[in-house]
């Protein structure tokens, strides 16, 4: 039986939820507000009402080509996501449906790599990238982000696949499906919601990744994270321009996240409640 919740409590909870949401969202909101201020306004202290000028956007676009960075971000985040899925689907399949005694250990080990501070491997990876000529290349960055996010992608898909009854795959096997047929015709269509939210999450993670993207690129392959960083220059901090650049960088992913929030929430809470 559902618990009766009084109207007053509902209102109180709604207000509390709005406050929490606003607090979390406030830095992004203030970035957007600041981007519509002039540089003088921006350094004058806390002010929620901007003059509405778009001079910072014009300056940012004049100073560096936004679309080049944007394109790099798109290529790298989508490319690394597709590459990760290509590896992760078969990997998660074997872990979910043909586990060995060591499967759990492998899963834990993969997760543990996410706990290692990235800076610890910065020098060896930088040297490897240099020796293989991958510095400042889209391919290099795509591979790097694929490897960084692969554990999460495999984990998420593994959780999804575990929910699919093994008997259905056995039925496909009896019906004459090859291993590939089983994955393509039965497993993947059944796991579409899971694969979709894994994809979305991974695109967001790759889009926001700032440690490696900034350190392994200079100009050619630099994505939007490097675009923002380029505005915090030694000549001084230009808050309005920095905000305009940040707004431009987060806008695409914010819009995508907004439209796919249902899918994302379902993906992240999947398996939590049976």
């Amino acid at each position: 039986m559902a618990r009766a919740v009084s109207k007053r409590r509902t209102i109180a909870f709604t207000i509390a939820a709005w406050i929490v949401a606003l607090v979390i969202f406030f830095p992004i909101l203030y970035t957007i507000i600041t981007s519509f201020k002039s540089e003088t306004e921006a350094i004058q202290g806390f002010n929620l009402i901007p003059s509405g000028t778009v001079e910072s956007y014009a300056a940012v676009q004049a100073q560096s080509n936004y679309f080049k960075f944007f394109l790099n971000s798109v290529i790298i985040s989508i490319g690394s996501t597709l590459l990760a899925l290509l590896i992760a689907v078969p990997a998660a399949w074997s872990m979910a449906f043909a586990p060995t005694r060591r499967t759990k250990d492998i899963l834990m080990w993969m997760l543990s790599t996410k706990m290692m501070p990235a800076v610890a491997v910065l020098v060896p990876i930088y040297l490897l990238f240099r020796d293989f000529g991958l510095l400042d290349s889209r391919i290099g960055l795509t591979v790097m982000l694929t490897m960084i996010n692969l554990p999460i992608v495999i984990w998420m898909l593994y959780t999804y696949f575990r929910e699919i009854p093994g008997e259905i795959l056995e039925a496909a096997r009896m019906d004459g499906a090859s291993l590939w047929g089983e994955i393509v015709y039965v497993l993947t269509p059944m796991a579409v919601p899971g694969i979709a939210s894994t994809m979305l999450l991974n695109i967001i993670l790759a889009w926001n990744e700032a440690f490696w993207t900034i350190r392994l690129t200079t100009t050619n392959a630099a994505p939007l994270t490097a675009f923002i960083a380029s505005f915090s220059s030694p000549q001084g901090l230009f808050w309005a321009k920095l905000s305009a650049a940040s707004t431009l960088a987060i806008a695409p992913i914010l819009i995508m996240g907004w439209f796919s929030q249902k899918q994302l929430v379902r993906g992240l809470t999947f398996g939590a409640v049976k």
């Binding site: 039925a171 496909a172 096997r173 009896m174």
Partner: protein, 333 residues
Amino acid sequence: MGKIILKKVNKSFGATQVIPGIDLTIEDGEFVVFVGPSGCGKSTLLRLIAGLEDTTSGTIEIDGKDVTAAAPAKRGLAMVFQSYALYPHMSVAKNIAFPLKMAKMDQAAIDKKVTEAARVLNLTNYLERRPGQLSGGQRQRVAIGRAIVREPSAFLFDEPLSNLDAALRGTMRLEISELHHQLKTTMIYVTHDQVEAMTMADKIVVLNAGNIEQVGSPLDLYNKPDNLFVAGFIGSPRMNFVKGEAAKPWKAPTAGIRPEHIRLSKESGTWKGVVGVAEHLGSDTFLHVNAEGVGMLTVRADGDFPVTHGDTVYLTPDETRIHRFGDKGMAIR
């Protein structure tokens, strides 16, 4: 054709031996039921025949061909699972067509076969629906349809009715038996329900702890159980076992008497007892009687036999229907 021969089939999971070595011949066109309590290895045996599990040792032959190492799809068998295992993202028509699509049959031939299977199984009006929009019985029929279209040399059923309610189970039991008469294809059916086994089988294989206890026709097993296990497992309610002093008249350590082979009287008989629980089923009444010097006995009486809790009754076993068992539980004949 669908003659299946198992030779010394053995299956172990790690150090645990599930099936210690089974020899069994299933004739073409036979309806064979594997029956036994849960964990007796009956499903494992079926999965070994299907190819979903690898045999540890021994061979499996289908129509004279050794298929021990063959992939499931190469064995020409079709399987119906307990959970139906339908593809939830495909319509009924696509579910039934799936094995044909995998066999790369052309679309016109597939359509013809799907239509025919749907007609036989009363699914014509549901072809465009998804499995989620069907009732349990309809889902089961789709699973059977998917099996039929392949024209397999044998059908394997893994407890196909255990997810259905009692009434539907009765109907589906008839439908599967009817299907067997129509198709005359070998069917292997796994169940823990001895009523299903008795009513459907040409031949019953009783399994216990991975071993075959007895193979025979339903009436063979009922009338001539080889041992205590089969005697207790086949027949409902189960056979009464009388031990020690009470079994002396029949010169055996244990005597078995089925509830339906005990005559009941209010005046006189071999044993005197007091009625405990009386289960009234309408047509029959099952009495649980505490008989002096014998112990608890189950007795079948007519539905209208006037008796209630605490009544004194007299029981007389039918001498011609006594089963005698030796020290090791084997039948003495």
